[in-house]
Symmetry: D2
Subunit: 104 residues, 4 copies
């Protein structure tokens, strides 16, 4: 398996008249969904991707373009990459590693 | 209901010999779990909290202290706050608002 | 000297008709300027504060409120804290520590 | 002039024995310095780049690789992009736009 990273992408449009940005996020999520080689998870605070670093950055860049194609003139995008190369990590394994240590 | 924010907290210990930080995150998660007035969700990229702004910042500060109590000498903490005051928002409502717009 | 942290604060108003947010940032900067016990530096990507953790979080919370007092209905605020307790660190010492290692 | 973005890059190595990361940051800064088509500024909280989006992301990816080439096994990298397309923006113009609004 090719080395994978886990990354969180947040795309924020500025200068939209409305406080609601869910339709922009939905179009960004479409891009993640269409990428069959990359896992994704939508959370309340962003979209988490899991896949090869190059691909994740390609998708992040496509997601960043989304609001511009919908008429927005300024976009703030945050990409948080967690790249671990000493052992495989997935979105699930990271969460379960924490839960294993949690007091019951 | 008091006004609520949604926030993501990431606590990163530096100068630990190991690349694994899950046991630190688990102790941070304990703090979120013990706060009965704040909802929480653990993701692969952080802990999402939902509650009054003051409380969320209090908990974030407690979570930030965790690695120091375990001997760490430097901690990087990121707090991302989404504070919407025109209508109620929850972790669930934000995700479902996006999903409503996603192509099926 | 009380222990100090270095933190970066970004306050982003959503649902403003204009793409320009500099007047909101200016009011946030006023708060930093009035805090005589906290150092500040404005950069192109946020406001860096240096001071005791409690004070920095108090100021961050005040800065977060600014756009609401100006009529904004949704604000995204990011607080990045660098808290080093093995030796004193300042905004200047961090930059000069890097420059000392840079190839000339 | 080609469209430019302003972006902040933070590269954080995990599992280093030392709390000091300035020599890693210095090698990242070397990459920014060698890119003649991209402006850069080192701050206490990251490296700000200004240039075409594609180039900035290329450099961010190179900077992300730096700690791995120095033996680190896990790297957290954050890329914050501010992409404004209604009018030109530079690191300097953003700061001076804020200062113009600040109370004297």
């Amino acid at each position: 398996m090719e080395k994978q990273v886990i990354a969180e992408i947040k795309v924020v449009p500025l200068g939209t008249a409305s406080t609601s940005v869910s339709h922009y996020v939905a179009r960004c999520l479409d891009i993640a969904k269409q990428a069959k080689d990359v896992e994704h998870q939508l959370t309340a605070m962003g979209t988490i991707l899991q896949g090869p670093l190059e691909r994740v950055l390609e998708l992040a860049q496509e997601m960043h373009q989304v609001p511009f194609t919908l008429g927005v003139k300024r976009v703030l995008t945050t990409i948080n990459i967690d790249d671990r190369r000493d052992k495989p990590a997935t979105m699930e394994s990271k969460v379960s590693a924490v839960n294993k240590h949690v007091a019951h």
